[in-house]
Symmetry: C2
Subunit: 419 residues, 2 copies
């Protein structure tokens, strides 16, 4: 019998205990042993929970119990959780966590400490989708050329609704908050930080690359307006918040931002709160993984899968996918050297010579226009829409600054990268 301690019995923790109870028969058949929750650690013992497991408000009732084989960390946060899982590992317990922030900051230290102990974290990226499993095991024969992921259901819900119903950003954000999809302070989701945490985890498995959130380009969806969504749709694109990892020779670029993406791509077809991750391997080509990225049961499904895996085999895989360092280590591409095609929307007063001045600035910054379109915005202003050929990030940023300074430009130009 395998005994589990759960630290943090909120939505996911409750679901973990429920799955281990509801599906005990099939789980035991698959794992070859029975798996039971010996203790759940909570802050408030008197709060009602939809599960009957022994509870304690003393974390040491899990960490210091020699009978407990696996510690499931669901308390959230970074530093406190880090201390807890370190202590668990030092007590020779296997650890399962759903904590993406913990991993975004401390995954390499944890790998070092874990050594021969199992440390699993399937639920930390894209909830119920077994993407860690796929990337670490299923695609292990490949050099990964790229990863493009819709990994935040809140943002995808908002982008989908804006596209389907023509509502504006603020309206849909309020709706997402009312439905409980977005927090009162939505910055962590809509600012791209949640997606960035997940991307960093995937990038370690794909490339063995150690980066922190502050090392990479992170933008959110806050500047995507209904106008951009409508224009994109008209020209056969969807707008999605993507986490992107891309390898080019010995450099890896990591970035999170809204993207225009052709509606023909499978990942553009992923709508609503669902998540999806496209992975291109040098040998296999493109594979894509789709499913629910959040929710108690979906997340707990991944947590319990990790528990079963540990019950079956102890530890069988290197935590971050590499059993020894990769020769000729890959390096992180500086943010301002990233290359992309760009969509630009520039709102200008309707005056003579406007287009000539703007295109001159394009030229001065080595930006080559692919398509251009002018549309009236109000009676005295127009939207100039551009798509560019491949350009370099720092050139685009310079160009935007110069354009913004022009007196006939009414607001900061909107820039969305095209993939």
């Amino acid at each position: 019998m395998i005994k589990v301690g759960i630290i943090g019995v909120g939505t996911v923790g409750t679901s973990v205990a429920q799955i281990l109870r509801d599906n005990a028969n099939i789980i035991s058949a698959r794992a070859g042993v029975d798996i039971v929750v010996k203790c759940g650690v909570v802050k408030n013992l008197s709060k009602h929970r939809d599960i009957e497991i022994p509870l304690s408000d003393n974390i040491n009732d899990v960490l210091e119990d020699d009978e407990i084989d696996i510690v499931v960390e669901l308390m959230g946060g970074v530093e406190e959780a880090f201390e807890v899982v370190k202590k668990a590992l030092r007590s020779k317990k296997a650890v399962v966590t759903a904590n993406k922030a913990l991993l975004a900051y401390h995954r390499y230290e944890l790998q070092e400490i874990a050594q021969d102990l199992a440390f699993e974290y399937e639920a930390s990226v894209a909830g119920g989708i077994p993407i860690i499993n796929a990337l670490r095991d299923g695609l292990s024969a490949n050099h990964i050329k790229s990863i493009m992921g819709i990994m935040n259901g809140t943002c995808n819900y908002m982008m989908t609704k804006m596209s389907d119903e023509g509502v504006d950003y603020d309206t849909i954000l309020k709706e997402a908050q009312d439905l409980g999809y977005a927090e009162a302070d939505p910055t962590f989701d809509v600012g791209g930080f949640d997606t960035a945490h997940k991307l960093l985890i995937l990038a370690s498995i794909a490339y063995g690359i150690d980066a922190k959130p502050e090392d990479i380009l992170i933008e959110g969806i806050q500047n995507v307006s209904q106008e951009d969504i409508s224009f994109a749709k008209e020209f056969g694109y969807a707008i999605k918040l993507l986490g992107i990892a891309k390898k080019d020779a010995e450099e890896v670029e990591l970035r999170v931002h809204a993207c225009l993406i052709s509606q023909d791509e499978m990942i553009a077809k992923i709508d609503g709160v669902m998540n999806g991750i496209s992975v291109v391997g040098d040998k296999v080509g493109e594979t894509l993984y789709y499913g629910p990225g959040a929710g108690g049961n979906a997340t707990a499904s991944a947590v319990v899968a990790n528990i079963i895996d540990i019950a079956r085999s102890g530890k069988s895989k290197p935590m971050l996918g590499f059993d020894k360092p990769l020769e000729g280590k890959l390096i992180l591409k500086p943010t301002d050297e990233i290359e992309s095609k760009y969509y630009l929307r520039i709102n200008v007063s309707d005056k003579k010579g406007v287009l000539a001045k703007i295109t001159k600035i394009f030229e001065g910054n080595n930006i080559s226009v692919e398509t251009m379109l002018q549309r009236p915005a109000t009676s005295h202003s127009a939207n100039l829409l551009f798509s560019t050929h491949i350009a370099v990030e720092k050139d685009i940023q310079n160009m935007i600054k110069e354009i913004e300074a022009l007196d006939f430009v009414n607001s900061k130009p909107v820039m969305i990268r095209i993939v």
Copy 2:
């Protein structure tokens, strides 16, 4: 160092050797050991191959070489391959195979013989998509409610082209044959047998159910005409060949046939030669796995992933996903008790009273019509199109027989199940 012997160095075998050579650096970092091909067994030693590995035409140079740890069976066929892998296992070698037919017939015997030896077969279902991995490990916490898979690229290519280009079945079959997607005798693909082999493998992992191809409903796409594709499209459906496994209480139904499926479903959006498998778990909900189902490199990607997994851990998982039998074993639902909605196209001579007679036969067989539509076919005949409410397979089959016997019915009614 792990040494591999490859039995059968055709397209996939060559790709396996190439990947182990081309990606040796990253594979060695991921596996923690170097992996080399010690011997490839071929029938014809003089044939040119795009890889330099030691070759032999004597299978015992692999099977009886104590230095070879892993035997990769890529010879194809059923009984001869069965003898070969049995001999490999008896020589205490791990086995990796891409042979779906072998597994469709002998997977439980192989599991019995393998015992503590690793026996892996990721490439046998949906080529490069790590679906075995996902189902056996990633979703192991779930009772699987259903599996619906597009697992034959040839059929999906044909259905997609018929839908996109309005060409008829025979034209597109010829094109698929010219492109090398379909065999000269295409029955194995278009008749649904290839999909059935794959479905049986997935059903074992999901349900622990032992069935052979002859135990389940297998139909192909041969009766799907351009007319049906067009009608389906008009009403918001795609037609796809699906392998379906579904659990209902203690019964499991397994079936392969063309399906009408709403264009809104993710699986309906999988086009061309690509494969995709939707899996619904009781806890996680729907997840979907998409990618290339065939081709040397894609298939070899899965074979090499299995080799890496074995190099990492020996054996860590029960071959078919169950470490001990499931209590309250599930049973296979008899084919004629399967329930579904149905689409029917009945070509009739344009006479009075036709509709009354046909609907009376519907009624007499407990079939309730959901929608009905009449369209002229030629100047003297019409197509009657029906969709039914949920009905039972044996009732539909009886009804079709009765309708076919009517003198004003010009050909066997076309029936396609709706999912």
